[in-house]
């Protein structure tokens, strides 16, 4: 089974509608420790990424990721813009200039994104950021089968996002809150867990359809 450009295009379409749906909830979350706009950044960013990807003709996976990066970044700015743009650029590098990649390799997209975010944000796990969803998900990979990897990454992302509630932010806008940042989940981790979940769900579906031809 191969992961093709049509699958990646679908993924971005899904990201866009997911973030539109979660926009207000993410804004409320950001309001508690930040500036209440994370839902707007993510929904605008993913809408732009989706539009950019959908507008492409006959292209490679890397072209798609690059277009998504540029679309997201230019629509959003903010913190999320450079972070997701860099994540997508790294994912594009991993996918490479080809129109399809083995399904079994797709979990590494999560790892590539995690690296991009860590590098752009100069962040490490435990600082109460989106990296606390991406890094555990990346770390959960490589254990066994594709199915196991995907399941492990998904639950690690969700657990990681949940765990941010008890963290004190030490980077980003919320860092200045110190102790007052504790007790609230990080909105960037929450949106990241949603996106990783959607990605894992897609891979799982594709793997299933392979099993049952």
């Amino acid at each position: 089974m191969l992961y093709q450009t049509c699958h990646l295009a679908d993924l971005f379409e899904g990201f866009a509608s997911l973030m539109a749906r979660e926009r207000d909830a993410l804004c409320r979350m950001d309001g508690l420790i930040g500036d209440a706009d994370h839902g707007i950044a993510m929904s605008q960013g993913m809408a732009a990424a989706h539009t950019a990807v959908a507008a492409l003709g006959d292209v490679t996976l890397q072209d798609q990721f690059n277009a998504a990066a540029k679309g997201f970044l230019n629509a959003v700015g903010a913190s999320s813009g450079p972070l997701y743009a860099t994540a997508f650029l790294r994912a594009g590098k991993l996918a490479g200039p080809r129109t399809q990649m083995p399904l079994a390799d797709t979990p590494q997209i999560i790892a590539a994104m995690a690296e991009g975010i860590a590098q752009r944000g100069k962040a490490v796990p435990g600082q109460k950021t989106m990296l606390d969803a991406f890094a555990p998900a990346a770390a959960a990979l490589g254990a066994g089968s594709l199915r196991a990897d995907i399941a492990a990454a998904r639950s690690a992302a969700q657990a990681g996002a949940a765990a941010t509630t008890d963290m004190i932010a030490t980077i980003g806008r919320a860092a200045l809150l110190g102790e007052r940042s504790r007790g609230h989940p990080d909105p960037g981790a929450a949106s990241a867990a949603l996106l990783i979940t959607a990605f894992c769900d897609q891979i799982e579906r594709l793997a299933q359809s392979e099993d049952t031809p």
Partner: protein, 332 residues
């Protein structure tokens, strides 16, 4: 759910429609170099350091109101409370640089730092040197000066750097002055209400009636603590105690004062604050060289105010007095 009352159309169009209205009103001062890059008509010139400022929208008149001869040459405009992406920053730099280098100045926020840094890297590839001075005047935001947010003190800090650039100082000098101006500028604010993003029209935090948030940031970031709303003089005293302790001025020193409204607080209240501020400064033996009172750096329709003191020396005083002519701010 009650939506915040706003005179807007689609919330997603708010920033671009605002820019359209700004350009319609201020065509004698500003032009649009790119959709989100606003340039001074009479600012940039060959051989002059270009001062490029920027940040999220929702702080008007910051940032675009401070673009003009003698102050900033261009501004990059972000979405509401969101740093602009690199492209408009690059557009602003390209439209305003005069071969003597570019100085980026903006408030110290993670998002802005990432976007401006990306822009600086890309400009470097085009052979344009862009340096950065972050503003960090919000004393309530961290004990560590380098981690602090940049808030209303921007007005004075940008003003000093813009004047230095207008006096044809070199990039090195303008940068040094910008850092110096920032190091001597101190702000603290209180919020009396939340504000709402145009897309959600939902208050970005809960502030029960009768309470205020001390040390609130200009994006509704929580401050130092919640407290019962107190009389204006008590609020000023708490702010001034903190600012004066930070500033460490000697009797006879001069200051510039900015009493800034956060959006919904009327001038009457700001002047009431200033009455007490002037008393406190007089009691310290400090001379007030200049006082600005008004909405200079806002957070949409947030109610509240901040006080900024710039600890002047001869250089800064000269630069603060240097004429500037911006669409929303004139001096000299």
């Amino acid at each position: 759910m009650t939506l915040t009352q706003k005179l807007i159309n689609d919330g997603n169009d708010a920033v671009d429609e605002m820019l359209q209205g700004v350009l319609a009103a201020h065509g004698a001062h500003l032009r649009q170099a790119a959709p989100r890059a606003i340039v001074a008509l009479h600012g940039p010139r060959a051989g002059k350091v270009a001062l490029v400022i920027g940040g999220g929208s929702g702080h008007e008149p910051a940032f675009l109101g401070y673009v003009g001869r003698g102050l900033a040459d261009a501004a990059a405009i972000g979405n509401v409370f969101a740093s602009p992406p690199p492209q408009p920053i690059i557009d602003a730099a390209l439209a305003s640089h005069g071969g003597a280098g570019v100085l980026f100045m903006y408030g110290n926020y993670a998002g802005d730092v990432m976007n401006f840094d990306m822009a600086a890297e890309m400009l470097e590839m085009d052979g344009i040197e862009a340096r950065t001075v972050l503003t960090t005047d919000d004393v309530a935001s961290s004990p560590d000066r380098s981690k602090r947010r940049g808030v209303a003190g921007n007005v004075f800090i940008f003003k000093a750097a813009g004047a230095a650039a207008d006096l044809d100082m070199t990039l090195d000098e303008v940068e040094r002055i910008a850092r110096h101006a920032n190091a001597r500028t101190y702000t603290m604010g209180v919020a009396l209400s939340a504000c709402s993003l145009p897309q959600t029209r939902h208050p970005n935090f809960d502030l029960p009636p009768g309470e205020m948030e001390i040390g609130m940031g200009i994006h509704g970031e929580p401050g130092i603590r919640r407290a019962a709303l107190r009389p204006a003089n008590a609020v000023v005293d708490e702010i001034m105690d903190r600012l004066l302790a930070e500033m460490q001025a000697a009797r006879g020193d001069r200051v510039a004062v900015l009493v800034n409204g956060l959006g919904a607080t009327p001038l009457m209240e700001l002047y009431i604050l200033n009455a007490r501020i002037a008393e406190r400064l007089a009691a310290e033996g400090l001379a007030v060289h200049l006082t600005l009172v008004g909405a200079y750096c806002t957070a949409l329709e947030m109610a509240g105010a901040s006080v900024t003191l710039m600890h002047l020396d001869d250089t800064l005083q000269l630069l603060i007095d240097h004429p500037c002519d911006c669409a929303m701010f004139r001096q000299g």
